[in-house]
Structure formats: structure tokens, C-alpha cells
């Protein structure tokens, strides 16, 4: 072949060539998308190694009458009022910092200055939602159990 040979013309497309080209393109796209979907799905965790969402926090006697207890490792407060027990989340609904309890004046968040009343209702923003109040029950072993999957209204009190 000398440098002056003309470039050979591409062969004429026949139905068979067109079919094979289409089949090849389809296979390439399908394989690529399949791989991508597998990859993306695999990064969504199936099993979490996180603490249980329903757990005991202690015996009723561990919470003196009239007290407010911060259960640090569960990030919630347990109130023991004359009407009964209730629990309020310590995780600020604004951006996830722990709120601090101020005796008789509700909660204040150190991150962006939201404040809440004793029931967890927003007193001053930027938080838009109240601190969740979690359902409580007494286990057969006589322990107070908090279920963070279930929230309850402001009037909830557990007699124990």
C-alpha cells in the first residue's frame, strides 16, 4: 500500500449489519446501566450496626420525683412529674445538636439558638418542629422502656 492509495470506502450497510450494530449498542447500554445500578444499590446499607430504637432506660426509682434526667447515650430526657413519666428527644430538630435543659424554662440549643418549652414545643426558632416526645412503657422486668419509633402528644404521661 503506497501513501497515495485512496482510503477504502466503508462497506455498504446491509440490514444484517444494521441489526448487529443495534444489538451491540443495546448490549453496551444495558450492561453499562446494569453495572451502574448494581454499584449504586450496593452503597445503600442493608444492615445497620446502630443502637436499637426501643430500649430500657432504667427503673422508675432511678428517676427521683420532680427530676429531669439527661440519658446521654440515648440523647433524650426523662421527666418524672407528679402526673407520671414522659421523655423528650435531646436532638434539636433544626440541625441535630443536643439541646440543654434549663430548670423550669425548657430547652435551649447551643448551635443556632432555638429554644423549646418543657414539652418540647418550639418557643423560638430557627427550629421549625417540636422535639419529639417518645412513647414509654414499663417492661415485664419493671424497667422504663422508650420507643423512639413512636412519638406521642404533649399530654402523654406514664404512670409507673
Amino acid at each position: 500500500m503506497t501513501p497515495h492509495d485512496p482510503v477504502p470506502e466503508p462497506p455498504e450497510t446491509t440490514p444484517r449489519r444494521r441489526f448487529l450494530a443495534l444489538a451491540g449498542a443495546t448490549a453496551l447500554v444495558a450492561a453499562g446501566l446494569g453495572l451502574l445500578a448494581t454499584l449504586l444499590r450496593s452503597v445503600v446499607p442493608e444492615v445497620l450496626y446502630e443502637p436499637a430504637r426501643r430500649f430500657p432506660v432504667g427503673r422508675p426509682a432511678d428517676f427521683p420525683p420532680g427530676s429531669v434526667t439527661f440519658v446521654g447515650e440515648r440523647r433524650l430526657f426523662v421527666f418524672n412529674t407528679p402526673a407520671g413519666f414522659y421523655s423528650v428527644s435531646a436532638v434539636c430538630t433544626h440541625l441535630g445538636c443536643n439541646v440543654a435543659h434549663q430548670e423550669g424554662r425548657g430547652f435551649a440549643c447551643p448551635c443556632h439558638g432555638s429554644t423549646f418549652d418543657e414539652e418540647g414545643r418550639v418557643r423560638k426558632g430557627p427550629a421549625a418542629w417540636p422535639l419529639p416526645r417518645y412513647a414509654m412503657s414499663v417492661s415485664r422486668r419493671g424497667e422504663l422502656v422508650v420507643d423512639t419509633r413512636r412519638t406521642v402528644g404533649p399530654g402523654f404521661r406514664l404512670r409507673a
Binding site: V43, P45, G72, L95, C97, P110, C111, H112, G125, P126
Partner: protein, 376 residues
């Protein structure tokens, strides 16, 4: 030089030390690093007062971060039990460990600042106008990647500062409409900041984001060449000089300045390290890294407003800018009078960003209440 050494040198560099014009051309063309440059450069773009060397300085800081980051990786354990211990090891038990960590920290902070200033330079000189629109878009993506790298790196020391900054940051993610909570779940590998989140941030910080960065940086540089070199006014002199030595020496000068500053900061100022991360104890005030304190200040007025609406609008405006403002006048000059309105608008936005950052950094105390820093 003996004949043997000369042969060895030639086998590596192909051309001798550039002296003649022909050798200078060949030097630029035959080296992998240098061939990204043109062989001859317009005098206009060589003036230090035009570019301030900011783009190049960002690149050199990225290089410093890559090298120091690789060294840190040899000691770092991405596990809640080991991460903080590696920080203590780096401080007390690794030769030049504090220097390495300081250099990485200050180079990272410097890179955020320099990339921001580079963007300001490109705007005020109108360098985003056609045909450079797409390279501006890549530049915006590089700014976002720089912030993402800083953010993911921030969690790794696993101290109180890290833990609560990431708590705030990932909670902002959850406010995004539609997919926010799902993206947060994916980012953390669960609902809480723990082992899974640390490992994910580590892989993002050390591999995924740097690779994306390297690819986009290469594209950014390549596009500078393909778009006709750095921007210059239409009436500017077409006079060109040889890239070797005029461009190469100026670039080396930027490298020297960057290295000296990083070294000086790393020797003089220690990177902070607070107590080990503790989910039960929120420091008061809990602050994000300084480059996100403007965001945190805005978030204080409302999470949707400050964490979603404002940043989304800003990023969209930046991405669309070169396709909206295509007026070819005023390219290649600082603060061109033909671009007074655009420059004023951008200056206001940039100053607003700086202002909220300064407020968040210096004027906010416990419970994010207003404090005056000099009234102690």
C-alpha cells in the same frame, strides 16, 4: 559531562538544556509536565498583576495536600476507636507528625481561600465570556469539590469539633427537598454519625473526591489551551515571548511562594485538636469550619432558607452566569468600566459571603448569641 551521562540525560529529556530558540520550543513540547503550556505566551497574560497566580497557587496547594495527605494516610485508622488515637500519635509519636498535620490543615484552608479569590479574579477580569463559558462551569465544580474535600476531611480527626460540624452539615443535607433524607442516609451509611459514616467520609476524602478533582483540573487546564490561552482584551498587544523561560520561571516563583507560606504556617501554628468525639456533649457554641460559618450564620435564620435556598440559588447563578452574560466587551481587564454593573453585583455578593462568614466566626458566641469580639 561524560559521554555516558550525556546519553542517559538525553534518553530522559531528549533535548539539551534549552539555550537556542529551537531548544526552548523543544523543551516545552517534549516534557509531559511542560507540554500543557503553549510554547510562546502573550505578554499580556504574563503580568503578575493580571492573574495574581491564583489558579496556579490553587493547583500547587492541591499538590501539597496530595503529598501530605498520602503521608498522613500511613498513620490514620478510619475507625471511631482508632481515628482520634492516630491524631494523638501524629502529635506525640510520629517524626514531624505535627508538621505534616499542620501543613495539610493550613494548605486546605488556604486552598479554599485561594480558589475563592481565583474565582473573583476571573469574574472581575471578565474571563468567563465566550469562548470560556464551559471552563467557568468546570471552575465552579472545582470550587464545590474543594469545599466537599474540606468538609469530608473535617470529620476524620474524630474530635468534638469534627463530630458536631459534621452533625450540623449533614443535617442541612437532610433539608433538601425530595431526596434530602435519603442522601443523608447514603452519606452516613445509616442514621447516626458512627463507624459507617467515618469510613464513607474517609473513602470520599482520600479517593473519590481527589480523583474527581484531578480529572477536572486536567480538563480545566486543557480547556485554557483549547479556548485560546488566558483571556486578554481584543486590543491587547499580540506580542508573544518564549514560554521557556518567561512562563516557567514565573510558575516556579508561585510555587516558591506557596511552599514558603505553607511551611511558615505549619511551623508557626498548630492545627487544633479538641477532646474525642462525644455524642452526648454538644460544645457551646458548636461551630463549623470557618468557610462554612457563613452558611451556619444563614442557617441560624432558618434551615431551608440558609441551608438550601441561598446556597442553591448561588450555585445555580454561578453555573448559569457565563450563558446569561455573553456581552464580549470588557474581557481581559480588571474592573473594566464596560462591566461596571456586573462587577458591582458580583462584588456585593462576594462581600456578603465574606460578611456572613466574619459574623459567624467572630460575632457569635454561646447559643449563637451576638457577641462583640473586642469587648471582653
Amino acid at each position: 559531562m561524560s559521554a555516558g551521562l550525556r546519553r542517559l540525560y538525553r534518553s530522559v529529556f531528549r533535548v539539551g538544556w534549552p539555550r537556542t530558540p529551537k531548544q526552548r520550543l523543544q523543551a516545552m513540547l517534549s516534557s509531559l509536565l511542560l507540554h500543557l503550556h503553549p510554547t510562546r505566551v502573550r505578554v499580556h497574560v504574563l503580568r503578575p498583576s493580571y492573574t495574581l497566580g491564583l489558579g496556579l497557587a490553587s493547583f500547587f496547594l492541591f499538590a501539597v495536600l496530595t503529598v501530605t495527605g498520602l503521608a498522613l494516610m500511613l498513620y490514620y485508622v478510619p475507625h471511631p476507636g482508632g481515628a482520634y488515637r492516630s491524631m494523638l500519635d501524629l502529635r506525640y509519636a510520629v517524626a514531624f507528625g505535627p508538621f505534616l498535620r499542620n501543613a495539610h490543615r493550613w494548605a486546605a484552608h488556604g486552598m479554599v481561600a485561594v480558589v475563592f479569590l481565583h474565582m473573583c479574579r476571573v469574574f472581575f477580569t471578565g474571563a468567563y465570556k465566550p469562548p470560556r463559558e464551559f471552563n467557568w462551569v468546570i471552575g465552579v465544580l472545582l470550587l464545590l469539590l474543594t469545599l466537599a474535600l474540606s468538609f469530608t476531611g473535617y470529620l476524620l480527626p474524630w474530635d468534638q469539633l469534627a463530630f458536631w460540624a459534621i452533625t450540623v452539615g449533614t443535617s442541612i443535607v437532610a433539608y433538601f427537598p425530595l431526596l434530602g433524607p435519603q442522601v443523608r442516609y447514603l452519606l452516613l451509611g445509616g442514621y447516626e454519625i458512627g463507624q459507617a459514616a467515618l469510613l464513607r467520609f474517609y473513602v470520599l476524602h482520600c479517593l473519590i473526591l481527589p480523583l474527581a478533582m484531578a480529572g477536572l483540573v486536567a480538563l480545566h487546564f486543557w480547556r485554557v489551551r483549547k479556548d485560546g490561552g488566558l483571556s486578554a482584551p481584543a486590543h491587547a498587544s499580540e506580542r508573544r515571548v518564549m514560554a521557556w523561560p518567561h512562563l516557567v520561571l514565573r510558575e516556579l516563583l508561585v510555587l516558591v511562594v506557596v511552599l514558603v507560606l505553607v511551611n511558615a504556617f505549619a511551623v508557626a501554628v498548630n492545627a487544633p485538636l479538641e477532646d474525642i468525639a462525644d455524642a452526648t456533649r454538644t460544645p457551646n457554641p458548636a461551630k463549623a469550619p470557618w468557610y462554612f460559618l457563613g452558611l451556619q450564620e444563614l442557617v441560624h435564620y432558618g434551615a431551608i432558607f440558609g441551608g438550601v435556598a441561598v446556597p442553591t440559588a448561588l450555585v445555580l447563578a454561578l453555573l448559569l452566569l457565563p450563558y446569561v452574560d455573553t456581552d464580549p466587551r470588557g474581557v481581559g481587564l480588571w474592573f473594566s468600566p464596560e462591566r461596571r454593573a456586573a462587577n458591582a453585583l458580583f462584588a456585593c455578593l462576594a462581600l456578603a459571603v465574606v460578611a456572613v462568614t466574619v459574623i459567624g466566626t467572630f460575632f457569635r458566641g454561646p447559643n449563637w448569641a451576638w457577641v462583640v469580639p473586642w469587648a471582653r
